[in-house]
Symmetry: D2
Subunit: 483 residues, 4 copies
């Protein structure tokens, strides 16, 4: 969750509700609990049965809807919403979702979490046929594919289109009287269904959004499914028989909220077990265990309990870090001005400290943490990472920096340890990661039903438009390494 | 720190620096780490040696200085700053500090943390002498008292004025070439001095602000002291010999940041010990210990370690709660829409849970927490409060709701337990509180050098202007209780 | 120009420049002098030769670019811009121009002044072919028509598309290395070309924009022309041979700035002559002539000079009317609170006053003016309108309220006179209007080369999609009149 | 009124109303018509009979009250308001009026138009007595003087204080149940009383504000008067018998709105007569007369009528000049980018033009106007100024640039003519100015009851604190001239 100090970010959260009064307000509260999945933009589209209404803008949800009138104007008892993570290049209003399209035969709204691997090819084909795109996002492609099939009934056109796009995706589509949810054939992204007391159905990226609005969990959307919700209730269908679950392991390690339950596994519990297994795999002789707030506290408490070392609050995070925050100048940084994280001198001074963090991307944050603790008087600092080294990019919806930036793609573990200045450094092994998550549905599947490609480079699907560039980057890196 | 869900608030944090380039930026970063002490307004005054410059506004520090130009305009190597907690009635721009006064013979700026007990009397006397006040704050009185002594040298006038005001106060005064810091004779409020590498001195409400800007701790300001900092360095003086330390115990229990060290005691350690002593004093038969994030995590981990029960993350706090946040309507609340805090079903379901919180004011939050946990499936919920029951108001700078709102002033512990719906409820005893904090300087003083008047109603000073109203309210309450 | 007190509004102004450093800034200043043509939104697209850059928003130009960085980011020496008038229903960001389309084979930007009469039909056809529109504006259609002709070279596709759209239009299109300007076959809207000292070409809705940036007038764009500007200079071509000039007479009467020269006629001079001819046609026995500021001052001075009556400043306009202006409540209006216009008591008291205004739409403003003057003591108020009665809607780019709102479509002149409370009321005759404008190019054309359909209901082109609705409304009105 | 292109500015407008429902809204509309007197800040204080309420901010009135809630919060049927002109140095929120003072014995609000000549001396004396000022404005002094007289009844203290301040002033004071208005003994500034239909009294800097809210003119406040308005009605009193009317002639020449009537003279009529007398005094051989919009249109029409030359609209002003307007860079200005004013080529091309302006301060604007007209093709440009040369500063409330900036203080008329590039230049003579205004009350007074010190340097009162600096500046200038 501490997105601001990481190079690792989830792209987006989606939420939808059908058949509840003040649907846009429920969507607002649902999205609020998904805010950790994207902070660059937010939007909601509601339907009053005749027309779709939208409000969206860049910024946090609470900023976008700072003027409550903008929420109140989204009337109707059906709505979908989206919180967006955007990379700097494409952080423009046109890309903020849900997308909304007005047609003579009715409106369509669309919200998406994921990344398509054949979008460049599809976009080129569509443009050559006269299509005009309004955003630089690949999400829009789905609607163009559907509209190319004019004459076909909507659901058939949608199913056929879902077979034409590849990659990781969780789509919500809204028409005036129906809400559709579709998941890719690998189920890379989480998507759950809940039900409110009045019988209204809810769809959300994580179950924490169901809890927030008081909805009961019904089931996870399964790979390759197309869910339709309308006045007659919930309809489960699938658009392809070729499916195999490989859900993103980073959802358990880092992205999802600790209280979310994905495919039967509570995220906090998985993290705690990662900590426990790491304690067995990499014991250290220390006085205390410290977690990096907030995302690594679960793993750290697991490590502490299993190792028997006391669990201490040796690092605290300033809860008032706003995005408009003025940054210390170089001059001030050299003078030691610290932001966001502080070490608790009264706790760590003179002590041997084990720091548990969930992952290392570029290594910058780890280096800062080690320095903070040493300046506060820690005698030794041992860094313990509750996941394997990140060495390969993700093409299914996570923005992991290019390989050249991943410290573990370019350095051995002892080199990294030296670069971050720690006394020792250990990573959880891949088998232990799979064991910690222990997905019930994945027990007979490769890698326990998880996608672990960022760790081992073995992608569960073809890479389509990304394949060539990826192979080139691998080659270039190997050349560098040889030199 | 979770000010938004409490009825208990500290009034203000102060920070000052003398003799460091970009003093206003250092002050900004210092205040940033004191933001938990006040979120209603912020301001900084700098001195370039000839003139004082000010910028202030209502809102969080990062909002006030959202436009960096406003900070850059505060030139000079001396500055003081203030973050303000304000009650609704007086939350106007005129009351945002530091105050700045332009005189023909030089400017004066003033920042204050505390509350004066004889301000009404002084203000009346001054107005009858022709004085004109520009704010509704009592802070301004000090400058009027000084200016009434025209002809006297500044320091003598200041010392005499400090003897005329009563109550709890930590003042910072800035003139063009001097920075003054003064603490009340009881040292109700914390105030610490640090030094930067280049020799510049820093004064701050808490030591966490010293750490943030890389300053070394020098000493705590002592009761009755007047500190002067100028080009010649640090001068320690006192304006009265009649002093006795009774520092606010709530600073340790709730207000201060866990990494701050006050009179030699690290706040986190004090809280952890409160948890430990509570575990000995009030053991419960549970499956796990859960802390209320974020302020009660220290005490909860102490309770867990001492009791041997596992420490779990059964409650999590949404880190994106903004102040513009749209509130759920009654209709939505009834439907179960929850904000800010969530219970982790995967952790607490079917379990007996001990919840550790730092204090209970009106009881509203405790009731919500119990309900959240029960809805998430907790079998039993035991509430453990790491401080004694709050039964009396504070007149020295903490905004504790009037007695009529304090649940413990009106109900017995079994009654409170029923009102909040818990299976059991225990409070830390007063002797254990004093023992947990264990102030080195206070070992031979009554109550260990602490003010504990909110718990026992024994105020360490006369109440002056408040006395009559306080006695009336006591009487009214007793009558109610008799009826 | 006093758009805020009228029911009559021009839709939009356009501006483009090719080959001048800081093209976006020149465009800003050009648009600034066209602000009277639209106040609801503004935008600029620049080209740096490789990429198009855009900034747009709702509001006045100075509001849209209040942060100068947004203008500075529009780099390059080519740019087009747009100021927009929008009716309430479609006043959304998506409709603010220029439109910008990103294609694999290059970007296109588009700005438009006018109204298409067959847009509904075209849009339906395009959607049935799979096209997706992003705005509710008909401007977008042109780009879809062009993209349907993939394979054809761009200019041929553009020319063919220009033959498919009907109505009144002045289009600017920008590609990376070329700027295109196209005018409809009737030349309903004004569009002029200028040249800067360095040889760069400029296109603008009115010549006042050329003057503002120091460009020399080159020529008016003629009906049916397609102008191309690139590094090789200016190329004049036409996309159809079937043209006949019928430029909008309201441009001379009301919309354009008095200093603009359209088809060789200075707007101020035409208005002054309207006043002169009105003085001959409708002499009144008065003490003075007063113009309604600001748009009617030219006509009023013409009336005064021709009639020999003194020209007086009997009405003044508050120049600080902002759009956020708080409106007087009904209670205050009844108490006589007046905004915007004031009568000068010291001038009109006890006098017989001739008021010259340019037109009457709903009659509301005229009624207010008569009342203002009477309250200030005027003995008689004679209303003189320097154009014929407005009785029919416009379909070529002017937002004249529907027929049912036009007072002259529903009442005789004596009835209107009574409704507005004047002592007498006269309108300029249609032949005198044509004589006053006296278009050199139009001397052998019907109506002197002008469109006067709002006065006589004789539209110079078929009405396409509007025909049926228009005929219905005529019939409904006739029935009402019969009843 | 075109304050943005002048170096000459009026300091402030005041408005007050007693006994009308929604008094703050009436005040808003009254101030709106006084906006030309000050654009840097605005504020309103209302009284509900028990408490005074204030809202103020920097900016135009419509900006300050952009959020209507801020106006609605000013409840009660009594209010005063202020629009402020501020020089750059003191344009801070603390200086925006009305000032509001809270006292134990009741609140006082204060609004002021004018300038005190002994404020430095008084401020020094008051500070030495312990007074603390909250603004850098001299307005505050009056309240301190009153409060120094504690024990005396309020009206006696006020009267005595009014005798202690010197210079030009129009004060409005508000207490809970009384509104006071006071004018200096020379009546330098205008101040008028009106009455609403319901009997409520209104006080305003100009009568145009009375007209705007539908109030009937009652009388002008006379020099040395103290007016009291309360539930018993209007009470006229005077605080000094030593009075002599010398009202500021610049109010007639430039500042006041043309529809205002000051001491019986309509401003537009005075200006028109200035134009007429200038035509007789300085006839020129031209084809047309052109006024500089908007302030010089009255004088220009007078000149045209008297001379028999046609009055033409040869210059127009862009009505959309906003304060956030992006300024042309030097590069763009050299390319000829023009703002604010445009010459109408179709009117002036090939013609001999007489331009009438109200005054010349630094000469910059005149030079621009001459250039604009020549670039638009004017054959000759004759500049005619409808007032005498401005050669001396004002100390009574007008911000005329220091002598060193006044072009007429440093150059002869032929030199100025050459500097601005005109073919000829004439100024109205001082006797003709006095004759044009022709103040009924001033017929037997020196200079017809006008202050004309900016023209002849003969100040009607001692200069007090300004005397020494003024004499020095005269001497320095004489030395420069000798050299």
């Amino acid at each position: 969750m501490p997105y601001e100090i990481k190079g690792l970010n989830e792209e987006c959260g989606v939420f939808g509700v059908f058949g509840a009064a003040k649907a846009s307000q429920l969507t607002y509260f649902g999205l609020h609990s998904l805010q950790h999945r994207g902070q660059e933009g937010a939007g909601i589209v509601s339907s009053d049965g005749e027309k779709l209404h939208r409000f969206r803008n860049r910024g946090l949800l609470a900023e976008v809807f700072a003027n409550e009138n903008n929420l109140d104007a989204l009337v109707g008892d059906v709505a979908i919403g989206h919180v967006r993570y955007g990379t700097s290049g494409n952080n423009i209003l046109e890309n903020v979702q849900p997308f909304l399209f007005h047609f003579g035969d009715g409106d369509i709204a669309l919200a998406h979490n994921g990344n398509l691997t054949n979008s460049a090819t599809l976009k080129k084909q569509l443009e050559e046929g006269g299509a005009i795109f309004q955003s630089t996002s690949d999400t829009e492609i789905l609607v163009h594919l559907i509209r190319q099939k004019m004459g076909m009934d909507f659901v058939s056109a949608l199913k056929q289109s879902l077979n034409e796009v590849h990659g990781g995706f969780a789509f919500l589509l809204l028409r005036n009287n129906r809400l559709y949810a579709a998941l890719d054939p690998n189920g890379f992204r989480p998507l759950s269904i809940g039900r409110l007391e009045n019988g209204a159905y809810v769809v959300a990226s994580e179950t924490c959004a169901l809890d927030t609005i008081g909805a009961q969990f019904v089931r996870d959307v399964q790979p390759g499914e197309l869910i339709t919700i309308d006045k007659a209730g919930l309809h489960i269908d699938s658009y392809t028989p070729k499916t195999q679950l490989t859900i993103c392991s980073m959802e358990y390690i880092y992205f999802s909220r600790p209280d979310s339950i994905i495919h039967g596994v509570t995220v906090h519990n998985a993290r705690k077990k990662m900590g426990r297994l790491l304690a067995r795999q990499a014991p250290v002789d220390v006085d205390m265990v410290v977690g990096v707030p907030n995302s690594s506290l679960s793993a750290a408490s697991g490590y502490a309990e299993e190792s028997g070392h006391p669990y201490e609050m040796g690092l605290i995070k300033n809860q008032y870090v706003a995005r408009t925050f003025i940054q210390p100048t170089k001059q001030l940084r050299e003078r030691g001005v610290k932001m966001k994280l502080s070490a608790v001198r009264g706790v760590v001074e003179g002590k041997k400290v084990a720091v548990v963090d969930d992952s290392i991307v570029r290594g910058t944050t780890s280096r800062q943490i080690v320095r903070l603790l040493r300046e506060a008087g820690a005698k030794e600092v041992h860094m313990l990472i509750a996941s394997p080294p990140l060495r390969f990019p993700c093409f299914y919806g996570i923005d992991i920096s290019t390989r050249s930036e991943l410290i573990a793609a370019n350095h051995t573990i002892p080199e990294i340890c030296e670069l971050i200045g720690a006394d020792s450094l250990s990573f959880l092994s891949l088998p232990n990661l799979i064991k910690a998550i222990d997905l019930p549905e994945g027990r007979n599947l490769p890698n326990g039903g998880l996608c672990v490609a960022y760790f081992d480079g073995k992608y569960p699907t073809p890479l389509y438009d990304y394949r060539e560039g990826y192979l080139k980057s691998l080659k270039k890196q190997q050349e560098r390494e040889v030199v």
